[in-house]
Symmetry: C2
Subunit: 470 residues, 2 copies
C-alpha cells in the first residue's frame, strides 16, 4: 500500500495523492447517498499521467474509478478500495474555433465555464441541466448527459465530434476528430460516451458549438392538461420551424414542494395550477430575433400570439412571458432545483425514465395509481422534459422500508416497459440501477456488453461493478 | 457442401438458396470492380431465419457476408467462398407514426421508398445520395451513410433511434428504442451502425423523420472562389437560422466530364465557370414557406436577395434559381451522377476524404499539385459536400499502373492527415481502404476494434476480412 502510494506520487506528484480525511470531498456525493472508502485519491494533470496511473493499476491489480464533477445520481463514482482518479486538474479549454464551431476541452472543465467561453464568441454549447455549475465535461460525456435542450440539440453524444481517452489497459486512443463525416472503423467514440468510465477515462473532447440564439422567448404557462401542453409544443414547433429549446413540465405537487423547499422562490402565477410548463424558443435568424421599429421581438410576438390563441380555446389557463434576463432566470430556477427537491432528506424512490412523447400523460396517471396502491401516503414529485419524453419520477415514501422502495421502482418500471419506454433515460446505471439492468435489459445485449467489457478491460480494473450486473 | 445447401434451404426455403449463374446479380457490384465467387446466395425473409443461418454458419465454420442494395463502393460485400446473405426480402415498412415522427423499417427497404412513404405523411427521411433508388436501409445503416444533407440533419447514425440485429453468434439483440433518451448500458446501436456487417446483421431500425420542408429554394451558383462559396453558405445559414440543406461543389473539370458522360444533361450556365455550387434551403415554418400576396415564396426571396448582394460584391458570377420541381430535379441530377462519372471505365484513384470546412480549398490546391507531380496527364474530378467538408476526390489516371494508383492515394492521404482530416469520410473501409486503415488509423484504436471484433465474433464468421486489416 505505502509502495503503491509512493509510485502514484511519482506519477502525479506527491501533493496530488490524498488519503484519509483529505479524501472527504471526493469519497461522498452531494446527496450523501453514496459514500465509499477509496484507497486514495489521485489528481493527475495530463493524459500521460492518467495513462501511467492506469498502467500501474493493471500491474498491481487495483481498481481505478474516474471522478469528474461528482454530480452523478446513481453511484457511478463509488470507489470502495479503489484509486479514485479525479480529472479536475485537467481543466483547460484548449481551443475554441468559432469559424469551425468547435470547442476542444479537457475532462475537468466545468460545464458552465464552457457555456461562458462559447458565449464570448456568440456561440453556445447547448447542453444544460441543474448541476451545470459543478458538472465537468468528463462526467457529462461518460454519462451521455441529456438535460433540458435535448429536443432541439440532442444528447451529449450528438454534440461530440471527437475524443481522447485512456483505455482500461492504459493505452491512449486519439479520436480527436473535428469532422462531421469520419467513417474509419468502429464507433469507439460513442462506445466510450455513456460507458460511465467502465471502458476507459475520457480525457478530452472536440465538442460542437451552435449559434447562440440572438433572442429567447421564455414563458411559464399553466395549461388545462398535458395534452394541451403537447398541442402548445407542436404549434410552437411548427410556427418557429423547430426552434423550441425546452418544454419542461412541473405539476402542482412539485411546485408546492419547491416553494416549501425554498420560500424565497416566487410562485409563477397568482393561482396555483395542476399543469405548469416552462417553454423556451431560441431565435437565431435576425428576422426572428431583431426588434422591429416598435421594439417588439418577433419570436416573443409569435409566442404571445400562440398563447393568446390557446387561451381563447381554453387550452391555456394562464401565462407569463419573461420580459428580461432576470425573469427568464427566475423561471429556470424553478426547474433547475428539481434534484434538490426530490432528494431532500427522507425516503425516496427515484425513477429516471423515458416514454414516447405522447405517453407522458398516460404514464403519470398509471404510475400515480400504482404508487398509491403500494403506499397511500406517498407523494409523487415528478418533473419532465416534455419535449423528449424523459420523466424524473421521484416518489417521497411514507417510510424508509427498502422493500417498499424496491416495489415502487419495480411497479413504475413495469408500466414503463408496457409503454415502450426505458428504465434509464439520462442518469445512467452506476450502482443504483444494476437491479433494473439485470431484470429489464435485453439479455443478448447484456451479454454483448459483458463481452466488450472483458475484451477491453481484461484485468477488470476500470470502474468495476458499475453498469453491468454480475 | 450439398449438405450445407440443404440445411440452408430448410431455413429459408429451397427456392431462396442460389448457386452458380443464379448468383450473377449478387456476386458483382454495379461498378464491376468487385467480383467474387460466393458459396451460395441465401435470401431469408425474417430475423429468425437470418439468426438460424448465422448459427449454422458458426456451426460449420463458413463465413456470412450480408448484402443490402449492393451500392457500396469499397468491396464491403465481397463474399468469396462465403454465404452471401441478401436482406432484400426483408422489405417491409413496418410502421410510420407521424405524431412520433418515426418510421420502423426492415433492412431491405430501398431508401427512395422510405422517402416516398414519409412524404405521404408530410414528413421526410432526410438522408439522401445518388444511389437512393437502389440502396437499402440495412446498407445505409451498416455504412453510416452520409450524403448531401448531413450539414442540416447529420449522418445515418444521427437519424437512427433504435435497431434490431443478429449478432455474429446468431443471437438477436432487440434495441428497437423509439426514445430520444435511453442511457441503459453501452451504445451497441452506434457500434453496429457503420460496422459494415462485421459485428452483426442489422435487420430492422427505428428511424427519425423530420418535417418535410413546405418549400425549397434551390439554385445553381457560379462563385468567384471556394472562399466566396463558403461566404454564401454562411450568409444563407445566418439569414435562415440554419435551414441550408445542401451546398454541393462541382468544379469545371467535373462539369465538363459530366456533360461528356451524358450529353442529354444541360449545362447550368451560358458560360462555364471554375466553381459551381448547388445550394438548397428548406423552409418548414409557414412564414418562410407560404407564398405572399404577390406569389413570392419568402425563402426564395431571401436566397435571391443574398445572391443579388453577393453578385454586387463580385463573389457570385452567375446564378439560376429553380422555378419549379423539374428545374430543381435537373440541378440535382448534375450532382447525383458523380459516382458514374468518376467510375467510368479507365484507371481511377478514388479518395473519399473529409477535412475541416475551411480547408476544402487549400486541400484541393495541394492535392491537385501532388497528383500533377505524380502523373502530369491525370485529371482530377472532385465533387464535394462543401457544407460538411467531405470531398470525393477521384482522379482519372493516365495509365492503369497499380503502383501509380497507390502512390496517388497515399499522397492525397498524407495531405489529408496534415490538415486534420479523415482518409475515410462516408464510404467506409470495406476491402478497398484496408491499406489506409492499416497505415493511418490510431494504433490503440485499431487494437481496441480488433478486441471488440474477437469478443463478439469468436468464430470469425461475420463478414471476415473487412474493415480491420490483419
Amino acid at each position: 500500500m505505502a509502495d503503491l502510494l509512493e509510485r502514484l506520487g511519482e506519477i502525479v506528484g506527491a501533493g496530488q495523492v490524498m488519503t484519509g480525511p483529505d479524501m472527504a470531498g471526493y469519497a461522498q456525493d452531494w446527496t450523501g447517498a453514496w459514500v465509499s472508502a477509496p484507497l486514495c485519491v489521485v489528481r493527475p494533470a495530463t493524459t500521460a499521467e492518467i495513462a501511467a496511473v492506469v498502467r500501474l493499476a493493471n500491474e498491481v491489480g487495483v481498481p481505478v474509478v474516474p471522478l469528474a464533477g461528482n454530480t452523478g445520481l446513481n453511484g457511478g463514482a463509488v470507489a470502495e478500495g479503489a484509486i479514485l482518479l479525479s480529472v479536475e486538474r485537467m481543466s483547460r479549454i484548449r481551443e475554441i474555433r468559432p469559424e469551425a464551431r468547435i470547442a476542444i476541452v479537457e475532462a475537468g472543465v466545468v460545464l458552465e465555464r464552457l457555456h461562458e467561453a462559447a458565449g464570448q464568441h456568440g456561440l453556445a454549447f447547448p447542453l444544460t441541466f441543474g448541476a451545470k455549475g459543478s458538472a465537468m465535461i468528463g462526467g457529462v460525456l461518460s454519462t451521455n448527459a441529456g438535460g433540458s435542450n435535448v429536443l432541439r440539440y440532442g444528447n451529449t453524444r450528438d454534440l461530440c465530434l471527437g475524443l481522447e481517452a485512456v483505455l482500461p489497459t492504459g493505452e491512449v486512443v486519439d479520436l480527436m476528430s473535428e469532422l462531421h463525416k469520419d467513417n474509419s472503423g468502429y464507433d469507439l467514440r460513442d462506445l466510450l460516451i455513456g460507458a460511465e468510465g467502465t471502458l476507459g477515462i475520457i480525457t478530452a473532447a472536440v465538442l460542437k458549438l451552435v449559434p447562440r440564439p440572438r433572442a429567447y422567448a421564455t414563458a411559464m404557462v399553466a395549461v388545462a392538461s398535458l395534452d394541451a401542453g403537447l398541442a402548445l409544443l407542436n404549434r410552437l414547433q411548427e410556427a418557429t420551424g423547430g426552434a423550441v429549446e425546452a418544454c419542461e413540465y412541473m405539476p402542482r405537487a412539485y411546485m408546492e414542494a419547491l416553494l416549501a423547499h425554498d420560500p424565497a422562490l416566487k410562485p409563477p402565477f397568482a393561482e396555483s395550477h395542476d399543469v405548469n410548463l416552462l417553454v423556451e424558443v431560441g431565435a437565431t435568424a435576425p428576422r426572428d430575433a431583431d426588434p422591429g421599429p416598435d421594439g417588439t421581438v418577433p419570436v416573443q410576438a409569435y409566442l404571445e400570439a400562440i398563447l393568446g390563441d390557446l387561451f381563447e380555446e381554453g387550452a391555456v389557463l394562464d401565462a407569463v412571458v419573461a420580459q428580461n434576463d432576470t425573469q427568464r432566470a427566475e423561471m429556470w430556477a424553478r426547474r433547475e432545483r428539481a434534484a434538490e427537491v426530490a432528494l431532500a432528506p427522507g425516503p425516496v424512490a427515484v425513477n429516471d425514465i423515458a416514454v414516447p412523447l405522447d405517453r407522458v400523460g398516460p404514464f403519470l396517471a398509471r404510475a400515480d395509481a400504482a404508487v398509491a396502491a403500494l403506499d397511500p401516503a406517498a407523494v409523487a414529485l415528478p418533473v419532465a422534459h416534455l419535449g423528449d419524453g424523459n420523466i424524473h419520477y421521484a416518489v417521497r415514501l411514507s417510510q424508509g422500508d427498502a422493500g417498499l422502495k424496491e416495489a415502487v421502482v419495480e411497479a413504475v418500471e413495469e408500466i414503463v416497459r408496457e409503454m415502450g419506454g426505458s428504465f434509464s433515460a439520462e442518469h445512467g446505471i452506476g450502482l443504483a440501477k444494476l437491479p433494473s439492468m439485470r431484470r429489464r435489459k435485453d439479455a443478448a445485449a447484456l451479454a454483448a456488453m459483458r463481452a466488450i467489457k472483458a475484451a477491453l478491460d481484461p484485468a477488470g480494473v476500470m470502474n468495476p461493478g458499475k453498469v453491468l450486473p454480475d
